[in-house]
Symmetry: C3
Subunit: 139 residues, 3 copies
């Protein structure tokens, strides 16, 4: 069994956001899959998808703070900055963190650890809405 759906995520502020529930409510079909994989993919190069701690909001803030420091805005360092100083750092963060997550499906649910949630990293100041493709497969 294979299932796929493309969804829109409304514009998020710059930083990290937990979107696990926003994803799950789009895919009731997951209940039909006993074992399989869910691939969640973002169709952008200045945003990212990763998994991280789903309870403490300070983790979201510390992630943004860390990547702000280690992938700094610097118009003198980067050539690619005609869309603004947040442009090239956003591309780098997107590749470091990745643009998809592949999560096991077990007994009709995402088999995440207790503390794992799906993070959307919005790396632009005004990134606009984002498109995500969810693909489920298994049996």
């Amino acid at each position: 069994m294979t299932f796929q759906k493309e969804i829109n995520i409304v514009e998020k502020s710059r930083g990290f956001h937990i979107i696990t529930n926003e994803v799950l409510k789009q895919i009731p079909e997951i209940e039909k899959i006993k074992i399989g994989i869910a691939n969640v993919f973002i169709k952008h190069t200045s945003a990212s998808l990763t998994l991280n701690e789903n309870v403490s909001s300070d983790v979201l803030r510390d992630m943004e703070k860390y990547f702000g420091k280690y992938v700094p805005e610097d118009n003198l360092f980067y050539e690619h900055n005609y869309e603004g100083s947040d442009d090239m750092p956003a591309h780098i963060k997107s590749s470091i963190l990745g643009q998809s997550v592949s999560i096991p499906i077990t007994n009709g649910k995402l088999n995440l650890g207790t503390w794992q949630g799906i993070y959307l990293g919005e790396h632009r100041n005004y990134g606009g809405a984002r498109k995500i493709v969810i693909t489920l497969f298994g049996e």
Copy 2:
């Protein structure tokens, strides 16, 4: 064909560890798959799975040294440190390195390059046992 198994990895010391054989001995079913994919997923946000050089133990040490320097412990920088100064850096390393690897299966074996092994990154000082879900699919 889809196959899935959840396994426990006994506590590892902080740093990087090659777990290719520990994974393989759990999935003799891989022999039945001519072509497909193996997804190996760790159910934690302070450990990671990645692929790297499977021969030289100095690569394991240099990986730990690099990430210790570039994702430093710093209680004054991070808000999220009530579990200790290794807490937030562990979350960041986990997202940078990733929590799953997807490896081709060819003729009943993982189709890894000669030098590729599966690395478990234990980013906490005392991370405890870790849970891994292995999902195989193909035909």
Copy 3:
């Protein structure tokens, strides 16, 4: 339906290269898949695969510049340098950026965003030819 092919990529210069078309021309079979996933996997630990901006060549150069600065060559810092000062940094970049991408297939095509292309990161000075395994599955 599952399809798999191993291909050789001729030696690239150190840095980042867009290989989307080089991959696509090897897999005309993708047209038969209505919905599914394409996994593209590089069998090396000193090169990487990631997705990033597919138009501006300055993004390719800035990626190389960024990783050259934040994963610097430093024979005094790393133990693992008998193949040269580009050796250990290449392993680190490979794990940070990742060695595979999983991309949705929709209506017989890779369902990439408008600006997304497949990047091969060649992190050695003289990396030689590289082997890539492409696995397609879906229905």
